[in-house]
């Protein structure tokens, strides 16, 4: 499944990050890399973007970009 398909309260692990090189690099820099576990916090009131916590960082990204992140639910 992809990151864009998770629901609030889920916990997951990053399996593969792909997509626009700029987005991929930024996600890596912010600590969302393969093998990393995260808490899926939910979606913005209008349904997009989504929010997750990896380490001690709360991250927000759009569904379109999150679709490039393959995850597994824990």
């Amino acid at each position: 499944m992809t990151l864009a398909e998770m629901s609030a309260g889920d916990r997951g692990r990053v399996e593969q990050v792909s997509g626009d090189p700029a987005v991929v690099q930024r996600l890596y820099e912010l600590g969302l890399l393969e093998g990393e576990e995260f808490d899926f916090l939910g979606y913005a009131p209008l349904g997009d973007p989504l929010e997750l916590r990896v380490g001690n960082t709360r991250l927000s990204l759009r569904l379109a970009d999150a679709a490039g992140v393959v995850v597994s639910k824990l």
Binding site: A44, P45, L46, D65
Partner: protein, 737 residues
């Protein structure tokens, strides 16, 4: 040697307390440095320690040295000592957040490769400790080979130790234990370097390979030709085959190193405790509550501008009137007195009056930004903003434009995508800035009494809504036409909430106030004087007599009659009162004629057919034209133009009273008071009347095309908006009566 000042470059992630540390170190001894060819500005400050001067440069907050824009490349070049404007840094000061050390050390590991001594300031050790995160500074120093100092920038703790460490690091030898990127990558970087005859630092050669389509790549290709891009792409392919695919290889290497370092130096609780920040976010990013809080905060902002600023505004008003009266009494009539009293003091006084509102607004924005709420606002708004071709990051520049489009346009630098950024710049001036407040306040006061503060705030809120609605629509149209292109990147951190620093907020507010006053003193002041001149001259009647003399004579006769009347016996008062009234009317008539006949009046009357469909008379039209360099000018200009009616004793605002009386005797504006006032407000809401904003757009876009385009579309939109407002309003008023 010891007299040479040390250059310290301050780097850190956004929301690390970097600005707080910069302000704590340099205090008020700071200024802004500009760099030709790019739009980036960096703050520079100074401090002294152990009789040694330190020059501190505050680099923009960033997560990484992977430059994606020419602006970010400037910061990298500066660190590498490649900018001619700045000496190469002697020390790099890297500030990291103790509670999130893993992520913050990422940038530090990049900085370690620059060959410059690095001092790490571990900030907010207190906050981390409260969460159970303990950083062992000695172990961190041992693992990284860097000097590490714990600080609490907001309380000023650890600064003396930090300064001492900077001094020691600059003069001492340094041997950082930096992470080692895989050998194939180093080898490819060396090959690239050999291909350009070793003319660039090795660091940039690595960045060229690592940052796909980044600013470094564009710079290299621009300098060494398109063939280089092909060589780089081939090198990246070889790296992927060797199991070192970019950009993943960098992140994996660095995070593996960081994990090792933090495993030794950081103790964390096994289960992450729920922080107060998390609890707050459950409410503030909630579907219903979050949206409600958002709108409540916005409304509170405008409401406080109205209520809190009023007493101060009245004080400034009374002060400038007092000074004007004093000068009028001390000088004889003539162009100089008129220039001083009617041009300079009245004009500038009318502008400075709005300083309290600007300060309050900037205080709000600074607090929202400093406490971390701005990022939540971007999170809440991104769906809306991306729908109209901008990003959640456009929200901060647009909201800043509510105070002033100049910093707003500059704040668009955080938007990576060029088209997103351009769209945001072009619509930012549509947001109702503080310079429009004077116009709104004046116009609202013409049809709503001062007692109905709630109704006033509601109308004001509507005026702001015009910008909030028009800007996205225009941006959407632009992104579908002129700025068509791919969607943008939006990956954003939501920083933990924190108590805003009084110092940071104070400096922002001070800066904003100072900028506004400087404008009042330059652009606005200059146009006030020009407007006074075209309104004062030619100052001659048909037979060549100066109006000013005639007015003075009539005023004298009027005052004479008044004085005689007071001294006279009861039965002699009647004729003297008539005498006084006759001369008072003559004063008004002469002044009005003087106005109508001035250069300004002649132009205004010639253009009256253009203003008539908006419900405006030549004076409103003229004052509007006069305020094209700076919106605030309209109030001062109207003050001069409507001075034809003497203010009555005891009136709180003579200008309001003057316009009110004038409109009462006017068939159009008397009957359609509300539509006329609204039409003026709508025009000002939509029009680009700000020389400073145009100058900033020119600077940020590096082109005259975009400021001209912005000016043209906004002026057209404003005329159309005002036209529709008045014509529809007229129909409504007609139907009601």
């Amino acid at each position: 040697m010891s007299s040479r000042p040390l250059t310290v470059a301050l780097v850190g992630n956004p929301n690390t307390g970097k600005s707080t540390l910069f302000n704590a170190l340099s205090g008020l001894r700071q200024h802004v440095g500009n760099y030709p060819g790019v739009t980036v500005e960096m703050k520079k400050g100074q401090f002294t320690h152990a009789e040694r001067r330190f020059d501190l440069i505050d680099l923009p907050g960033t997560y990484s040295l992977a430059a994606r824009s020419p602006d970010e490349l400037v910061a990298v070049d500066l660190l590498l000592g490649r900018r001619p404007e700045e000496p190469p840094p002697d020390v790099i000061l890297s500030i990291v957040d103790a509670s999130n050390l893993d992520r913050h050390l990422y940038l530090t590991t990049q900085v370690m490769e620059l060959g410059v001594p690095v001092v790490v300031a571990v900030n907010m050790v207190d906050v981390a400790a409260a969460q159970g995160v303990v950083v062992d500074v000695a172990k961190l120093a041992a693992e990284t080979g860097l000097t590490v100092v714990p600080i609490q920038a907001n309380k000023g703790t650890g600064l003396t130790e930090l300064k001492a460490a900077l001094l020691k690091a600059a003069d001492g030898h340094h041997a950082p234990k930096a992470p080692v990127l895989p050998q194939p990558l180093e080898a490819e970087a060396k090959t690239i370097l050999a291909g350009v005859n070793g003319q660039v630092p090795e660091f940039l050669a690595r960045r060229l390979l690592l940052d796909i389509n980044g600013a470094t790549e564009n710079w290299f290709v621009g300098k060494y030709g398109e063939a280089l891009r092909t060589r780089v792409q081939e090198a990246r392919k070889r790296l992927a085959d060797a199991g070192a695919a970019v950009p993943a290889v960098e992140a994996k290497t660095r995070y593996a190193y960081i994990r090792k370092v933090t495993a030794a130096a950081v103790t964390k609780p096994a289960v992450r405790p729920k922080s107060g920040s998390d609890k707050l976010d459950r409410i503030l990013t909630h579907k219903v509550w979050g949206t409600l809080v958002f709108f409540a905060v916005m409304f509170l902002m405008f409401w406080s501008i109205f209520t809190a600023a009023t007493p101060l505004m009245n004080l400034i008003d009374a002060g400038s009137t007092g000074i004007g009266k004093a000068i009028e009494g001390a000088m004889s009539p003539g162009p100089l007195r008129s220039l001083l009293v009617d041009g300079i003091i009245t004009g500038v006084g009318g502008v400075v009056k709005f300083l309290p509102q600007i300060l309050i607004l900037f205080a709000f924005i600074a607090v929202l930004e400093d406490c971390g709420y701005m990022a939540r606002a971007a999170f809440l708004m991104d769906r809306l903003m991306s729908r109209c071709g901008m990003s959640g990051k456009s929200f901060i520049p647009l909201l800043s434009s509510v105070a002033c489009a100049v910093p707003g346009v500059m704040a668009t630098r955080v938007i990576e995508n060029h088209r997103d950024r351009l769209a945001t710049i072009l619509v930012a001036p549509l947001m109702s800035c503080s310079a429009r407040i004077p116009v709104y306040v004046l116009m609202i006061s013409l049809f709503l009494p001062a007692e109905s503060a709630f109704a006033q705030a509601a109308v004001m809120f509507c005026m702001y809504m015009i910008g909030f609605i028009t800007a996205p629509v225009v941006a959407w149209i632009l992104r579908k036409t002129l700025l068509r292109g791919p969607r943008s990147l939006f990956v954003m951190e939501l920083p933990a909430y924190k108590r805003p620093s009084l110092r940071t907020v104070g400096l922002r507010v001070f800066d904003a106030g100072w900028q506004f006053l400087k404008r009042a003193g330059t652009v606005i002041f200059a146009s006030m004087v020009v407007i006074w001149a075209v309104q004062y001259f030619p100052n001659t009647t048909a037979d060549g007599t100066a109006y000013e003399g005639l007015v003075a004579t009539a005023e004298e006769a009027r005052d004479d009659a008044k004085k005689k009347k007071e001294d006279a016996a009861e039965e002699e008062k009647e004729p003297l009162e008539q005498e006084e009234a006759k001369n008072a009317a003559e004063v008004k008539r002469l002044k009005a004629e003087w106005q109508r006949d001035s250069f300004l009046g002649r132009t205004g009357r010639a253009l009256e057919p253009v203003f008539a469909p908006l419900g405006w008379d030549w004076r409103i039209g003229m004052a509007t034209l006069a305020s094209f360099p700076a919106r605030e000018v309209i109030v001062g200009t109207l003050r001069i133009l409507y001075e034809a009616d003497e203010a009555e004793e005891g009136q709180a605002d003579p200008l309001r009273a003057s316009i009110h009386n004038d409109w009462d005797n006017d068939p159009v504006r008397g009957k359609y008071r509300v539509p006329v006032a609204l039409s003026v407000m709508v025009f000002f809401a939509l029009c680009m009347q700000c020389a400073s904003t145009l100058a900033v757009i020119r600077r940020e876009t590096k082109s005259w095309l975009w400021p001209l385009f912005c000016f043209a579309y906004m002026t057209g939109l404003a005329y159309l908006g005002a036209l529709v407002t008045f014509q529809v309003g007229k129909l409504i008023v007609g139907a009601v009566s």
